[in-house]
């Protein structure tokens, strides 16, 4: 994990600088400033040094928990992130839970009732979900449930636990839909494969009740590909969250990242991206642990 993070940090650092942007220009946007002031800013943010030195300054700071200071907010990146990460994480966690709770039963039912009318209906429905991009789903949901029916708020994050949850409903459903589609398809495929396997035939021949055969025997064995896909999906949800946050004006990490990119705010872009990568890697680690808990054959290795 650590070598990966080092490589990723170099990549992020390089990519931010490859883009044709000038931080000093965006800091002084619209103002008439002297070359001296420009030079002062460059010195203050170490932009006068060569890239290798800049990287070392950034990475040393990062290792000490200091992600640097934002050019546009004049605040530490760490505090900017900590103000917003709660919104993004709760959005991702909520929609993650929501989508798994819907997707697995849907996939299992489709597999058990394979090729029935219900299975075909669910297939078409999930295909529609998987095909519609998350920002479109978000806008349509906002239009229907917030503007036309007035059931849910259309923007903001609310105050207090219940109000926050209430504000989270539409964004997290919008974000979950894509994931429901893919996860339920994978669940169906994986379940069908397991239900046709020899040990399921054995379990049936043993007289184990059908429900237990489906849930404890087949689903448990089908879980590994489901977990893999779910973890990748949660990773891509971090990106999806950026879009949903901006549709619902929620001011999470996504918002911060986008404004950072627009303003060539290098520390913000670097900090947020590195954090997202770090979260993604942590998810992978957790998934590996899950595999080992689930499958004794993996545990042995």
């Amino acid at each position: 994990m650590i070598p990966v993070l080092i490589v990723v940090s170099v990549l992020i650092f390089a990519m931010v600088r490859i883009t044709p942007s000038d931080p000093v220009a965006s800091m002084t946007k619209g103002k008439n400033v002297s070359e001296e002031t420009r030079q002062e800013l460059r010195v203050r943010y170490h932009l006068d040094k060569n890239p290798a030195e800049q990287y070392l300054i950034w990475i040393t700071g990062t290792l000490h928990g200091d992600l640097g200071e934002s050019y546009q907010y004049k605040q530490s990146v760490g505090s900017l992130i900590s103000q917003r990460i709660g919104i993004t994480l709760s959005l991702v966690i909520l929609s993650g839970i929501l989508s798994v709770l819907v997707a697995i039963p849907v996939g299992v039912i489709s597999a058990v009732k394979m090729n029935s009318a219900l299975d075909k209906f669910l297939s078409v429905l999930t295909l529609v979900f998987v095909a519609s991009p998350v920002f479109l789903t978000a806008i349509i949901m906002m239009f229907v449930f917030a503007l036309k029916m007035g059931l849910f708020p259309s923007f903001g994050t609310g105050n207090g636990l219940w109000d926050s949850l209430y504000h989270m409903v539409l964004p997290s459903v919008a974000l979950a839909m894509n994931m429901v589609a893919l996860t339920s398809r994978i669940t169906r495929t994986s379940m069908i494969e397991q239900l046709n396997s020899d040990y399921i035939r054995t379990a049936t021949a043993k007289g184990i009740p059908r429900m237990r055969v489906i849930v404890t025997y087949a689903l448990k064995n089908a879980l590994i590909p489901i977990i893999t896909v779910t973890s990748i999906q949660i990773g891509s949800m971090l990106v999806g969250a950026v879009l949903v946050e901006s549709v619902f004006a929620m001011g999470g990490l996504g918002d911060l990242l986008i404004s950072g990119i627009k303003a060539a705010d290098y520390p913000v872009v670097q900090g947020v991206t590195l954090l997202l990568v770090f979260i993604f890697l942590c998810i992978n680690l957790v998934v590996d642990i899950f595999y080992a808990i689930l499958d004794p054959r993996i545990r042995l290795k």
Binding site: T202, A205, K220, L294, R297
Partner: protein, 328 residues
């Protein structure tokens, strides 16, 4: 003697994407209490289909069953699924060809055996686990206390088949269906497993329906045998009698193709041709195209059963050795 299992005129039709397959077209089979009854035949002749039909293990939406399957005098064919579920594993249980894939990879073998007691005997978890351990000892897995906590992948193929057997006999079934139980194992392990099955059958008074393509196994283990061809039983009788004077040309050809029956240096006999595809319901003898003795009537109608005496029946117009048996 009252038969434990009696299959009469069983037909199974499978709906496939290529049309209806007449997998079984009128199977008659009887298993007596306590006997080991062999079912032999080439691949695709309906051996496994017959076995699966008893416990209704094939996809019910894609198949149609007719005829009669009576177990202990009770008709199974019309029974609701719940009743069949109760029967599975308790009165009738089954073991399969490939033990490596037939055990749940994510459950310890102890738990898999214990499941039998939990669902059939309604035993508590602790009691079920204790009984499962006893069962492992019974099938010769030692040390049971250690093996008990292992997963299937930690055992050899022979051990896995022993676990399958332990599971199958856990609830003291009256009938054990063994579908090619030794095909995937090497020869020495084969002998051990067959010996174990024979010993269990004798100790528990359990009947075994032993499905195999190997006449050698039948000769060693089965009291009686039925020979199947293209979805029908073509000959049935005492193993010794049938081996000595097989009446159906197909049975005789099968027996001839066991290695070791001829002198050294001679070529092993084979049966020319291959079994028919079963897309049409049979109206004449299905073996006729491959039979060296076939005549006109064999291609026009299905032969009636010929009684060779002593419960030995053959479905053939021209049973071999008819002259000898009528002479006796």
């Amino acid at each position: 003697m009252e038969n434990l299992l009696e299959i009469r005129n069983l037909t199974v039709e499978l709906m496939t994407t290529r049309g209806i397959v007449y997998a079984l077209s009128g199977v008659d089979l009887a298993v007596r209490p306590g006997e080991i009854h062999g079912v032999v035949g080439e691949s695709g002749c309906g051996k496994s289909m017959t076995a699966k039909s008893i416990l209704r293990l094939h996809n019910p939406q894609r198949s149609r069953m007719k005829g009669s399957i009576r177990f202990e005098g009770r008709e199974l064919l019309g029974l609701p699924d719940r009743e069949i579920e109760k029967l599975r594993g308790s009165a009738v249980s089954m073991i399969f060809q490939d033990p490596m894939t037939s055990l749940n990879p994510l459950m310890t073998i102890g738990d898999q055996i214990a499941d039998m007691y939990r669902f059939h005997a309604r035993a508590g978890k602790k009691e079920a686990l204790e009984k499962a351990q006893e069962m492992l000892e019974k099938v010769g897995i030692a040390p049971a206390a250690k093996r008990f906590r292992q997963y299937p992948f930690e055992l050899s193929g022979g051990m896995q088949q022993r676990v399958m057997i332990a599971m199958a006999i856990a609830c003291a079934p009256k009938l054990l269906i063994a579908d090619e139980p030794t095909t995937a194992l090497d020869v020495t392990i084969q002998a051990q497993i067959l010996e174990l099955l024979q010993q269990l059958s004798a100790d528990m008074g359990m009947s075994i329906l032993l499905i195999t393509h190997n006449f050698g196994i039948v000769a060693e283990t089965c009291q009686r045998v039925s020979v199947m061809y293209a979805g029908k039983v073509v000959e049935t009788g005492e193993t010794r009698d049938l081996l000595r004077r097989a009446s159906h040309p197909y049975s005789r050809a099968l027996i001839r193709s066991i290695p070791g029956c001829e002198e050294r240096g001679t070529r092993l006999e084979t049966i020319p041709g291959s079994p028919p595809a079963l897309f049409e319901p049979p109206e004449s003898c299905m073996f006729a195209p491959r039979c060296p003795f076939a005549e006109e009537r064999c291609r026009k109608a299905y032969p009636t059963l010929f009684d060779c005496g002593g419960g030995h029946l053959a479905a053939c117009f021209k049973p071999l050795g008819k002259e000898e048996s009528t002479r006796v």
